[in-house]
């Protein structure tokens, strides 16, 4: 049911593309064009606040939100199309790439006073060490979700995804970067900046795993796990929290050696025509009440200390949404791979599936 709702919602969001194109031509100062991941803000779902409406009410600025599915889509759009977006929300490695290629505007943090409320850990991000271009939006880690009735040995780390006794019941990321990173961690390679040799080693591991798998999935993991179709899957921790609400047989495991810490940061691309509005939008999204509302919806980590205080106790204490500081210290962050290496990784992953 939730899935169908998500599909309908994304259709609605696609429709709003039209609204965006209508807005592109005009020089009306009363707009902000946001280009973000799909389904990434509380917009009145599940009885939550509609943050875009609230922003419009407070500032009179109209939000046009368009969505992309991958960081690469975002990059291609900014690089190759003559578009104007004011706020984009790329992931860490894409931020590095955009900064390197001079595609982001420096922010004026005087216009973003709520930046003060952000936890120090998330202020000077690795991808933006001088803290000039970014304000974090959400963060999270990858983790394991498993069905207690099917998995007898409590998983400790990713090795559980290679467990022969679960043959035919294991799901795996259908996305090269995450899948390769998991394989690399199991053989002691740091996935943040891997080489072609590392990828080859990871491929051996993934080839071993393929006969044990039921499927390579992304969004399908929700139904598979919520309806107890499969035994175990790796996914993003915030989403695992959602799955666990739907099915009480599910449990989670944060790999003991750490996992991937990812975050998406709000930035202003150089094609922006409304930088001031963009900064107002970014500031508004880090207003404690608003950030808390988005966190309630997404269940990804919220970097705003004041917002965290506004959350329900059970969300605050959830290890999936807020892993401990000690755990985060063990995690690694994806670096920006050389395009050639990334291409190689993607191709090798497709080849494993195509064999």
């Amino acid at each position: 049911m939730k899935k169908i709702l998500a599909i309908i919602l994304s259709a609605v969001m696609l429709c709003s593309t039209a609204a965006l194109f209508a807005g592109c031509g005009s020089k009306d100062a009363g707009e902000v064009n946001v280009y973000s991941w799909g389904d990434y803000f509380a917009e009145g779902q599940d009885g939550l606040m509609n943050v875009f409406d609230e922003f419009e009410k407070e500032t009179g600025i109209k939000v046009n939100c368009t969505t992309y599915e991958t960081n690469e889509d975002l990059y291609n759009m900014l690089k190759n199309s003559n578009v104007s977006y004011d706020v984009v929300i790329p992931s860490e490695y894409m931020v590095t790439k955009l900064i390197k290629e001079g595609m982001l505007e420096e922010l004026n943090y005087d216009n973003i006073p709520n930046y003060q409320l952000i936890n120090d850990r998330f202020k000077h991000l690795d991808c933006d060490p001088d803290g000039k271009y970014t304000v974090i939006y959400q963060w999270g880690v990858t983790a394991l979700v498993y069905n207690k009735t099917k998995v007898k040995n409590e998983p400790k780390n990713w090795d559980a995804l290679w467990d022969e006794s679960l043959k035919g019941d294991i799901l795996m990321f259908n996305n090269s970067r995450d899948a390769m990173a998991i394989a690399m961690q199991t053989i002691g390679i740091n996935p943040s900046n891997c080489t072609k040799e590392d990828i080859d080693k990871a491929c051996v591991k993934l080839r071993e795993q393929k006969p044990l798998l039921k499927k390579y999935v992304m969004d399908q993991v929700f139904t598979e796990m919520e309806t107890s179709q499969s035994a175990i899957a790796p996914y993003y921790a915030g989403d695992i929290a959602m799955m666990m609400e739907e099915n009480e047989d599910l449990d989670y495991c944060l790999p003991d050696y750490g996992s991937n810490l990812f975050y998406d940061a709000m930035c202003v691309p150089t094609c922006s025509k409304n930088k001031e509005n963009a900064e107002k939008f970014i500031n508004f999204m880090q207003k404690p009440e608003i950030a808390a509302e988005n966190c309630k919806y997404l269940r990804y980590g919220c970097a705003n200390d004041e917002a965290v205080k506004l959350l329900d106790k059970d969300i605050q204490e959830s290890e999936l949404t807020f892993p401990s500081d000690e755990y985060l210290d063990k995690c690694y962050v994806f670096g920006n791979l050389d395009p050639e290496v990334y291409e190689y990784m993607q191709e090798q992953f497709v080849k494993i599936q195509a064999e």
Partner: protein
């Protein structure tokens, strides 16, 4: 002069949305990252030959099953009263008003373990896995493309001159021979266009295998989708090769169709 003016918008449309993109795909496929001429992309593309063959095989299988289901159905519908015919065709079309992805998703739910099919068959003692395999992919494809096979056959069959059938009967043909010597040959054009309309999109389809298939079920459409993620050149080369395959198929079908029309 007037007709030329009228066709201008179509020519512009074809130029902008068909010819130019085609040239762009060609250029992308035959260059490398530095923009120089190169056939590397094709060398990489041919590493996926097994996937090409698998996709064509799945498409062929779906087309044959669609034909086996749609042809008798079209024949039966044609025998009905005109008002009933309209209702039945309508019923066939209604599912198509729904989004393609939703329909595939519905099949995932129908076929999954503990789903309706599994529950039903378990009740009478048959246990098995119905989703996450090639058969499920074919079922999804057949469901998806059946109307595209049915409609052309039905249209052509409905247009067969009744007096030809009566003439055959007058000349002593029984039912079987009327079908074999009158209806079947006259409905071939519908079958040909039906086959084309099912085979071509199903060979290049994507997402269906991802949703209904297992780890081994990946079709060329999915590979193209994934490769375009990081490498446009190989993606373009794969698309070109696929287009050549489909073109060959169309030429073959056209040849076959023309001969039938002559005979």
């Amino acid at each position: 002069m007037k007709s030329k003016l009228l066709s201008l918008p179509y020519i512009v449309w074809m130029l902008v949305f068909t010819m130019i993109p085609l040239v762009m795909i060609g250029v992308t496929a035959f260059t490398d990252n530095s923009g120089c001429f190169s056939v590397d992309a094709f060398v990489s593309a041919f590493q996926y030959t097994n996937i090409f063959l698998k996709s064509l095989w799945i498409a062929l299988l779906s087309t044959v099953i669609c034909l086996l289901l749609a042809y008798p159905l079209a024949y039966i519908i044609c025998q009905m009263r005109p008002s009933t015919q309209k209702t039945v065709i309508m019923l066939m079309m209604i599912p198509m008003w729904m989004n393609f992805l939703l329909r595939i998703y519905a099949w995932v739910l129908l076929l999954q373990n503990g789903g309706p099919l599994d529950t039903l068959l378990s009740a009478i003692g048959i246990h098995g896995d119905y989703s996450n395999n090639t058969a499920a992919v074919v079922v999804g494809m057949v469901y998806e493309y059946l109307p595209f096979m049915l409609l052309p056959i039905y249209t052509v069959m409905g247009k067969i001159d009744k007096s030809l059938i009566e003439a055959a009967q007058d000349l002593g043909s029984n039912k079987a021979s009327v079908f074999r010597r009158v209806i079947l040959p006259l409905s071939i054009p519908g079958v040909i266009s039906g086959i084309t309309m099912v085979f071509v999109p199903s060979a290049s389809t994507f997402v269906v295998a991802q949703y209904l298939g297992g780890t081994d079920d990946i079709m060329i459409g999915d590979v193209i989708d994934k490769i375009f993620f990081t490498n446009n050149h190989i993606g373009a080369a794969l698309s070109l090769v696929l287009m050549v395959f489909i073109l060959l198929f169309l030429v073959l079908m056209n040849k076959f169709g023309d001969e039938e029309a002559i005979a």
